[in-house]
């Protein structure tokens, strides 16, 4: 049943303070062959640091970034502010998605207004959502 297909994306980045969610998402991605590699970060700062260091190195950059909103130290939106300061190359290459268990409209609107955010997704991440992303990026 599991054909060895070419994964949809080379690299996916996950930023979530919940290790369970990190696990769930990365498993979902790998199991369904959405990404070769899942970069997991439990803080936004670390993830940002990774992006900053590799912003000229496209092979190391994730094609898709999922970022949670509610995280200690740096929230998902604060991350997006810093993300905006990154190179255009990076921003053109990476597609960032806001992921949250919140269903607050204010946040949905905030996500929609952010030009670097492709979409807002309610947790949990489902297969259907991943398929939509791959369709969008195809």
């Amino acid at each position: 049943m599991e054909e060895k297909k070419q994964p949809k994306f080379e690299t996916v980045m996950m930023i979530d303070d919940s290790s369970i969610d990190l696990y769930i998402t990365s498993r979902l991605i790998r199991k369904n062959n959405f990404g070769q590699e899942v970069l997991q970060f439990s803080t936004a700062r670390e993830a940002l640091q990774y992006l900053q260091e590799n912003q000229k190195n496209i092979e190391k950059l994730p094609k898709v970034i999922f970022v949670d909103i509610y995280m200690p130290l740096m929230s998902g939106f604060e991350f997006m502010e810093e993300y905006d300061k990154l190179s255009a190359t990076l921003k053109n290459y990476c597609k960032a998605y806001i992921i949250s268990s919140s269903v607050d409209d204010k946040e949905v609107i905030l996500a929609r207004k952010n030009k670097n955010v492709v979409a807002f997704q309610e947790k949990p991440i489902t297969l259907k959502f991943l398929e939509e992303i791959s369709k969008d990026c195809a």
Binding site: S18, I20, S101, P124
Partner: protein, 1279 residues
């Protein structure tokens, strides 16, 4: 006059030509066919090359020298053309033309002509360069040279003049006769040309000769103007000559002479010049032609137009651009726009026909319009094809206007003539009618048809004709006021006054008469009558005693008749009086008038009549009516005066008396406003006096009326009475009635009439006098009115009056007084005792004492008392009593007015009652009142006020302002004082909240309202106020505020808590769901899968609940976002998403939406309502029944959206229906609902300014009806 285009001309020109640019190479820009043929070249080879290069190429290689020679000459020539800007010609140039493909060549002789083409700046832009192949001629010359002998034989007969000039000095060697004839000389052989024609030198011809001699080149002159001096004494002759100088060569080929050929072309040139001149003039003429003229080519392009055309069009169109006509706009005669390609010019050219006089209207750019006749003429070329045309435009606007004016005036004139009250007629030279107007027809009583063409004499009898014929000699004169006699169709004789004017045509030839005729038949008759009368008068004068006199101018003496002597009181012997004697009789007052009369008579010699008085010797005065007439001698000179005089003294006196008496009567009547009338029984005419006319509003002349006219003045309401009175009292009566005068006003008249009887005792006349009594009647009427009004007023004001007459000892009540006393209206006369019996016993003494007192003082008295009516009713009366006095100042009675004031007394009573109640109310409401009188400094506190301030009730008048201030809470004192100061200025009530501290230390909150009372100067004189103890209210208020604040805080915290809790709760749930999906995917154990499914259901339920809580908190936290909602789409979306629920299987959804008006609301909240209600309908549907349905219906209008969600599900029992909207209320434990859904729905609906209703029956179904406000105008923001 279409002008051929240049390039066309150029191309078809029979002269080989090229066009050169004036640059260094003289580049060829165009070459025509014939040139290309001549040089065996093509356009490609030629155009673009320099002319010299082209020439060099056309020469064979071996002949470079000749080519170079030619080029040098040409270059010089072209440079000269550019410099002088004049054409230049190189005659007879030898050109060796190579034959292509061989080294051979042909020799050509060409005339080279270069013409500069100049632009407006007079710069040479091009050079037209033509070469004329004259080879043939040249060859001919060669031949002739070779055949010199034959030429010599021939030249004698040559058609042209010939001469051979020898040597460099051009000595005539040979001449033929024609030449001699041409120059008009003989014996010229052996003479040099210079000797023969010295004048020629200055004309430059010798230079040409020299040149020919030197260069061997032929010189040709065409139409050269040569001035020949044939004879020294004669005037030189100008001749136009075509001549050629040809070199004459010896055997070696050297030039040793010149052969001259000359043809006299003077005649041809002159005639052509004349033609040219005339052509130029023709153009000039065209240009200045007063008629607008223009020409077009076949395509309609305008090629030419003259000044008149510019003037007509008001514009100067561009040549070659405007089509068919230069007019700005054109219209046909109906006023419709006429397009240019349909204008007469266009039609004429297109259809190749000449058109004439087509009329149309042209509009200038400035908007003025002209009527124009057009005369387009197509021009045809030699082949008969139309090549263009000329159009002439004749502006007839002025003519048209004039014509219209003429038509108008003619119409007017005709109207005048037709409606004239004079007969108007026109006669021809034979006196036949050629025109008569209606009036003339009326006069003659014939129709127009019967008159026209007839001779005027045929409408006259013999007498008339005779009279008229007398005048026929005066045919061409003006006749004025001649009397003419006509006979009408019915044979009646008509006298007319006839004035006529002769009519002449333009050439002054008499062509008839125009006459005006007035019918004077009536005048004639009147005249006749007058004549009769005069005759009769004369007779009667003869019968009467008339004095007469004769005055002889020569002797200056008058002879009086006997009768006149008698009149003048003279004896018959004194019958001769001279003029001055006579004048001495004249009354001085009449002297001046009489002398003036005499003077007029002297001047006019006409008969005069006069009135004057004379004074007799005995001093008596007599009135004389006289008449005097001049008697003329044969020569028409006055020789004497004849006069009559009549003594009219008696008549005059009677007349005067009459006038006097009438005048007096009139005056009397006027003074008394007394009119009189008399009715003549026989004629049934009433004659009014002047004053009566005035009364009736008539002019004094309008004084005679028929009886019915007379009666028509009577006021309709009085007419019956008047006629009855008239019939009843034929022998005289007095009458009063109203009349309506001519100006419509109503007058009262009072009159008296009586009959006048004749001798037989018959009534012959009824005379009456009438007086205008309107004023007094009006007064009466007014009085009556005011009495009625008084009565009404008394009734309205319940205001009665009575009168007590001392004489009769009777008291008379007015109607209202009767009513007040409860008496019938007719029972209005009483004795004093009767009146006193009404007075309330308690008031009786007072009334009596007042009465007594007033009887002494005779002053007005006022008193209040009560009366007891017969039915026992007690009334409060207000009365005022006044004495009335007679002329002597003695009291004759008492007049009293009385008013029923029972009602106001009652009101007073009630007021007293209400004051008591107020006091009670104040006590109950803890409301105290107080007042301060500034004058006395006394304050007065009400009981309640004392109670509030904790002051003993006895001290209610002991509290000064200062005392009061000590009660005020120190922290409020400042505010209170400021408030007081403010209040002192304010005109309205002031209020203040402050605390007071009682003597025992209790703090109280008070609310006070007060105001300053002011005197008429606006100065405060007192202060009144109310004070309320609001301590309890204040405390409650403060508590409430505190609670509110706490509540608000709690709410906010709760809200925040709910939000973050729900978020934190949802987070792990999401994780669980994620993990579950893995298990579902990985595990194959049935039981595990079953358990996992159950976990998932629970988690989902929990998730839904949390979402609901979130949604609720959002509903509270967020503002409305109003936007247009596509209702149908939204409902369908929700239904579609819910259709996938398991329980929805087999349910039939029916959606019917009517969106009359776009619906505006908050989309998210609207969605939440839909989702909750429809998902509920699905959740609580029955499981078993078939035919399950959910119907969703919505209708939106301007105000509301009505949403009805109906199902045939399990339904809700009545006891639960009110609770379903409560938070956490759930009906059944079976369902997995949280019990918050409908609560949120209700909250949300309220937020959206709507309402929800439920109707349900257990086991039947449920209907939710939601009404939401349409928030279209955005003002309906969140509540």
């Amino acid at each position: 006059m279409s002008l051929p285009r240049f390039d066309h001309l150029f191309q078809i020109s029979p002269i080989p030509s090229v066009v050169l640019l004036p640059n260094a190479e003289f580049t060829i820009v165009a070459a025509n066919k014939i040139l290309l043929e001549l040089f065996n070249s093509s356009e490609e080879e030629t155009v673009g090359k320099g002319v010299f290069e082209a020439i060099a190429e056309s020469f064979p290689n071996s002949q470079e020298g000749q080519a170079l020679h030619n080029i040098t000459i040409l270059k010089k020539s072209l440079e000269q053309v550019i410099e002088t800007k004049e054409p230049h010609k190189i005659p007879h140039q030898k050109h060796l033309l190579s034959i292509p493909g061989s080294s051979e060549f042909v020799t050509k002789y060409i005339d080279v002509l270069s013409i500069p083409v100049l632009d407006d700046q007079n710069m040479v832009t091009h050079i037209l360069h033509s070469v004329d192949d004259v080879t043939e001629r040249r060859i001919l010359e060669k031949v002739s040279e070779n055949q010199k002998q034959r030429f010599l034989d021939l030249y004698e007969e040559s058609p042209c003049a010939m001469a051979v000039l020898k040597g460099p000095h051009h000595i005539y060697e040979m001449v033929n006769p024609l030449l001699l004839q041409l120059v008009g000389k003989d014996n010229i052989i052996g003479k040099s040309i210079k000797e023969v024609f010295p004048k020629l030198e200055e004309q430059g011809y010798f230079d040409s000769l020299d040149e020919t001699y030197e260069t061997g080149q032929t010189y040709t002159a065409n139409e050269a103007l040569v001035t020949l001096d044939i004879n020294e004494n004669e005037k030189p002759i100008n001749k136009y000559l075509n001549f050629t100088y040809q070199p004459y060569r010896n055997e070696k080929g050297e030039v040793n002479g010149i052969l001259v050929f000359a043809v006299d072309v003077t005649e041809q040139v002159t005639s052509r010049k004349r033609t040219e001149e005339s052509e130029k003039r023709y153009w000039e003429l065209m240009q200045n032609l007063p008629v607008a003229t223009y020409s077009c080519d076949l395509d309609g392009r305008i090629l030419f137009y003259n000044k008149a055309a510019t003037a007509l069009w008001g514009t100067a169109p561009k040549i070659g651009e405007k089509l068919w006509c230069g007019s700005w706009k054109m219209y046909d005669l109906k006023g419709d726009f006429l397009s240019e390609n349909l204008c007469p010019m266009a039609l004429s050219l297109k259809e190749s026909r000449t058109m004439s006089g087509e009329e149309l209207v042209m509009e200038r750019p400035n908007g003025s319009k002209r009527h124009v006749l057009t005369y387009p003429v197509p021009f045809k070329g030699s082949s008969g094809q139309v090549t263009g045309g000329v159009n002439m435009l004749v502006d007839i606007t002025d003519t048209k206007t004039a014509q219209q004016a003429l038509e108008k005036s003619e119409k007017k004139y005709r109207q005048i003539v037709e409606t004239a009250q004079e007969g108007i007629l026109v006669l021809d030279t034979e006196y036949n009618f050629i025109f008569v107007n209606n009036k003339m027809c009326d006069i003659l009583d014939y129709s127009q048809e019967e008159i026209i063409g007839k001779n005027i004499f045929s409408f006259m009898d013999e007498e008339g004709k005779k009279q008229a014929e007398k005048l026929s000699s005066k045919q061409k004169e003006r006749l004025d006021q001649i009397e003419f006699k006509y006979t009408t169709k019915t044979g009646k004789v008509i006298w007319t006054r006839f004035s006529s004017n002769p009519l002449f045509d333009e050439n002054g030839v008499f062509k008839g008469k125009l006459a005006m005729v007035t019918d004077i038949t009536e005048n004639k008759k009147a005249e006749e009558k007058l004549r009769q009368n005069e005759k009769r008068l004369k007779e009667s004068q003869e019968i009467a005693h008339l004095g007469s006199w004769d005055f002889d101018i020569a002797s200056q003496e008058a002879r009086f008749s006997d009768e006149l002597c008698r009149i003048y009181g003279l004896s018959p012997e004194e019958n001769i009086q001279n003029f001055s004697d006579w004048l001495s009789f004249i009354h001085p007052e009449d002297l001046e008038g009489l002398q003036a009369e005499i003077k007029i008579a002297e001047e006019t010699l006409e008969e005069r009549s006069y009135n004057h008085r004379i004074i007799l010797k005995n001093g008596s005065v007599r009135y004389i009516f006289g008449k005097a007439k001049y008697v003329l001698d044969d020569k028409g000179e006055p020789k004497g005066i004849y006069g009559i005089a009549h003594d009219v003294t008696e008549a005059k006196k009677a007349e005067e008396k009459l006038v006097q008496s009438e005048k007096k009567l009139k005056e009397a009547q006027e003074i008394a406003l007394l009119g009189s009338w008399s009715l003549d029984i026989a004629t049934e005419k009433v004659t009014f006096s002047d004053e009566l006319c005035r009364v009736y509003g008539l002019e004094p002349e309008d004084n005679s009326h028929t009886i019915s006219e007379w009666l028509s003045f009577v006021h309709p309401e009085d007419l019956k009475e008047v006629t009855e009175n008239w019939e009843e009292h034929k022998n005289g009566a007095i009458h009063t009635h109203r009349i309506i005068t001519k100006d419509g006003s109503v007058k009262y008249i009072q009159g008296k009439f009586r009959p006048e009887l004749d001798k037989q005792g018959e009534r012959k006349e009824i005379v009456g006098i009438v007086q205008d009594v309107t004023e007094s009647k009006r007064g009466e009427e007014k009085l009556k009115q005011s009495e009625i009004r008084l009565k009404e007023a008394q009734k309205i004001a319940q205001f009665g009056s009575w009168k007590f007459d001392f004489a009769t000892q009777e008291q008379i009540f007015s109607e209202e007084a009767c009513r007040i006393y409860g008496l019938p209206v007719d029972q209005n006369k009483h004795s004093t005792e009767f009146w006193l019996s009404f007075i309330h016993p308690e008031d009786l003494d007072e009334v009596k004492s007042i009465m007594k007192k007033s009887e002494i003082t005779l002053e007005e008295s006022v008193y209040n008392h009560r009366i007891i009516l017969k039915d026992g009713t007690i009334k409060h009366l207000f009365a005022k009593v006044k004495f009335e006095f007679d002329e002597k100042g003695k009291p004759k009675g008492v007049f009293g007015i009385v008013q029923d004031v029972s009602e106001s007394k009652k009101a007073e009573e009630r007021l007293k009652q209400s004051e008591i109640k107020l006091k009670e109310a104040q006590e109950i409401a803890n409301l105290g009142s107080w007042e301060v009188d500034f004058a006395t400094g006394v304050s007065l506190w009400s009981d309640e006020t004392c109670r509030i301030y904790g002051v003993p009730l006895e001290e209610n008048d002991k509290q000064s302002f200062e005392d009061w201030l000590t009660f005020i809470h120190p922290e409020d004192k400042e505010a209170v004082l400021a408030n007081l100061e403010e209040a002192q200025r304010a005109l309205t009530d002031s209020e203040i909240n402050n605390r007071i501290i009682l003597r025992d230390g209790t703090v109280k909150h008070t609310y006070s309202k007060y105001r300053f009372e002011r005197n008429h100067e606006g100065k405060p004189i007192a202060m009144v106020g109310a004070v309320q103890d609001v301590t309890q209210m204040k405390t409650a208020e403060r508590n409430l505020e505190q609670q509110n604040k706490e509540l608000l805080k709690a709410n906010k915290e709760l809200d925040r808590f709910v939000y973050s809790a729900s978020h934190d709760l949802r987070s792990p749930l999401a994780s669980i769901l994620g993990l579950i999906s893995f298990i579902e995917e990985d595990s194959e154990e049935t039981e595990t899968l079953e358990h996992v499914k159950m976990i998932k259901t629970s988690v989902n339920r929990l998730d839904a609940f949390i979402r609901n809580i979130l949604s609720y908190s959002q509903n509270n936290r967020t503002d409305l976002e109003v936007e247009k909602i596509p209702v149908k789409q939204k409902i369908e979306e929700v239904v579609d998403s819910l259709r996938t629920m398991n329980r929805a299987k087999g349910i039939n959804f029916d959606i019917s939406i009517t969106e009359e008006q776009p619906f505006y609301s908050d989309t998210r909240r609207f969605n939440a309502i839909l989702e909750n209600l429809i998902s509920n309908a699905v959740k609580y549907h029955t499981q078993d029944t078939s035919g399950r349905y959910i119907n969703v219906a919505a209708t939106s209008d301007k105000e509301y959206l009505r949403l009805v969600i109906a199902d045939n599900g399990i339904g809700i029992s009545p006891e639960h229906q009110q609770k379903i909207f409560d938070m956490f209320f759930r009906i059944s434990g079976k369902s997995n609902g949280s019990g918050i859904g409908l609560y949120i729905v209700k909250e949300t609906i309220e937020k959206l300014k709507g309402s929800i209703d439920v109707e349900s029956k257990e086991g039947v179904g449920t209907v939710f009806t939601v009404t939401l406000k349409n928030l279209k105008d955005g003002r309906e923001k969140a509540a």
